[in-house]
């Protein structure tokens, strides 16, 4: 477990804060060039791995396999099945986790009571949930959904509790003394304070839940992206497996860069001004 409930609760996983400072002249060209160079380097490293490691499938084979999956309808079919389970488990985890997290942020008693349990939840590896739910619920939809829920829940609780604690109580008092309306307070005092940790809650929940989903489908499912990647692995067709790994990574990059990144920048705009 990482960034946990103890006061300095920081942040874990996902790399990368390149400080986004307002532009210099090369502000746009530089990063684009760097990104291009880094993608080129990654492909080069992959190619090296293909040459050196005799079991690593090449890029061309992998892409071929991916388009074959797409042509046969296995790609989008399994993605759709998995997304259903993923969203269901994640939404329940966000709702329950937010309720418990707010409680932890507001009440010292709730914080003391739940901190150790949350720490245990953060420390437990997702694979154990996947294996247990497979034994408990068999090969049904409940296995991946419950795993997703359990994998995401502690991350939501910890980060929402942190968000609630970040609300500046002195500013709230001042606002009340000056008769600032409730909506104004929410918009200008509460929202900026909780934005960062709330985005972090969603981000960690997604990362952890996705990992849990794949494992649950690997061990206890007969459909979905995790199951499909296992199908190729069991058939000893590593290019098929790798094709699905590309899908897994694409999903994470998409969520991080296209969905959460802009939301986060919008929410934290005020800081750079």
């Amino acid at each position: 477990m990482t960034a946990t409930a103890i006061p300095p609760a920081p942040t874990r996983t996902g790399p990368a804060p390149t400080p986004r400072r307002p532009s210099r002249t090369r502000a746009l060209v530089g990063p684009a060039l760097a990104l291009l160079a880094s993608v080129a380097t990654m492909l080069l490293v992959w190619q090296l791995a293909v040459v050196l490691g005799d079991r690593v499938p090449s890029l061309a084979d992998t892409i071929d396999r991916l388009s074959a999956e797409q042509a046969s309808g296995d790609l989008w079919g399994n993605v759709a099945v998995s997304m259903n389970r993923f969203v269901l488990g994640l939404v329940v985890a966000l709702v329950v986790g937010t309720a418990l997290g707010v409680l932890m942020g507001l009440s010292r008693f709730a914080e003391n009571a739940l901190t150790d349990l949350t720490m245990a939840g953060l420390a437990a590896p997702a694979v154990i949930w996947a294996l247990l739910t497979t034994m408990w619920f068999g090969f049904g939809w409940l296995t991946p959904v419950v795993t997703v829920f359990l994998a995401a829940l502690p991350f939501v609780m910890v980060n929402i509790a942190k968000a609630v604690r970040a609300v500046p109580s002195d500013l709230l008092l001042v606002a009340r003394a000056f008769g600032v309306s409730r909506t104004e307070v929410l918009r200008h005092v509460v929202a900026p304070a909780v934005a960062g940790s709330t985005v972090a809650a969603v981000r960690f929940a997604i990362m952890s839940a996705w990992n849990g989903l794949l494992l649950a489908e690997w061990f206890g499912s007969t459909s979905g992206v995790g199951w499909r990647s296992r199908y190729w692995y069991d058939a000893n067709q590593l290019d098929g497996f790798l094709a699905w790994v590309l899908v897994f990574i694409a999903f994470l990059v998409l969520v991080d860069q296209v969905v959460l990144g802009p939301v986060e920048r919008r929410l934290t705009r005020w800081r750079s001004v």
């Binding site: 477990m1 985005v199 995790g226």
Partner: protein
């Protein structure tokens, strides 16, 4: 991408705790007791092999610990993690240093590090097994790959935290690069590296255990896998309990060590 791996060292913040109304340990152990009772009742209601009660699991925990199996397998896992972290340091320090010094390299490395840090554990586990076979190499390489982003990004943060004026002054007074590294950069980045290790540890251990689930001859993950295949849910839960307890203890130990070692860095608080 956001600022997720880089965490400010937690030095000195602990004193900001507000005075508690009810003793903390009482409330938290009370909550644990309630949770275990709920588990006991649930397992009594289900009354099946797949939901063993807390007493049964406790019995297995004691057996495993007394027989020495716990020590052997945890030691084996932790040695692999340490080796992995050694490798991660070797790679992460120069990468982080370069990222802290150059904006271009910072953008250059951010994508690969994001991918390394976020690739689902399943992928690492399978490739660890496929490429390195059943043995210690797979888990070691995998934990190194997982840990590199944590080390690199925190080193970069540490390097960025170095005061530019201090560097210019070093230059003005003709300090050698070795002196600058030794007296300016090193003190600045150690605290950050420590944080990186602390957060990377949990991630790395989880993925390492997963790799052992897929293929190993010993280690915690391997024992969980064996219990799963033999349908011994009590054993699975016993190993998981030990894993969670060990993880929490190590985390707390590292956090305590961190606030002791870096207590002098008041500026980080």
């Amino acid at each position: 991408m956001s600022t997720l791996v880089a965490a400010r060292p937690s030095v000195g913040r602990s004193k900001s705790r507000r005075p508690a109304s009810a003793p903390r340990w009482l409330v938290s152990s009370g909550a644990l007791v309630v949770a275990v009772l709920a588990w006991g009742i649930a397992s009594a209601v289900v009354d099946d092999n797949i939901a063993p009660g807390p007493l049964e699991v406790l019995e297995r925990v004691v057996d495993i610990t007394v027989s020495g199996a716990a020590l052997d397998n945890f030691a084996s896992s932790i040695v692999k993690i340490l080796a992995g972290f050694g490798l991660a340091m070797l790679a992460g320090l120069p990468i982080g240093f370069a990222m802290g010094r150059s904006r271009f390299l910072s953008s250059y490395f951010s994508m690969p590090l994001f991918v390394l840090g976020n690739v689902p554990g399943l992928t690492y586990a399978v490739f660890g097994l496929v490429i390195f076979g059943v043995g210690a190499t797979g888990p070691i390489v995998v934990s190194a790959l997982v840990a590199v982003p944590f080390v690199a990004i925190n080193v970069a943060e540490g390097v960025r935290s170095v005061d530019g004026k201090l560097l210019r002054m070093c230059q003005a007074f003709g300090r050698s690069p070795a002196d600058v590294v030794r007296h300016v950069y090193l003190p600045a980045i150690t605290a950050f590296v420590f944080v990186g290790v602390r957060y990377g540890f949990a991630m790395a251990w989880k993925v390492e255990a997963l790799t052992e689930v897929f293929g190993a001859r010993d280690g915690v993950g391997f024992m969980i896998r064996r219990a799963y295949q033999e349908f011994q849910v009590a054993d699975m839960l016993a190993w998981t309990t030990l894993f969670v307890v060990a993880m929490v203890l190590i985390e707390r130990g590292l956090a305590a060590l961190e606030s002791r070692l870096f207590a002098w860095r008041k500026d980080l608080a």
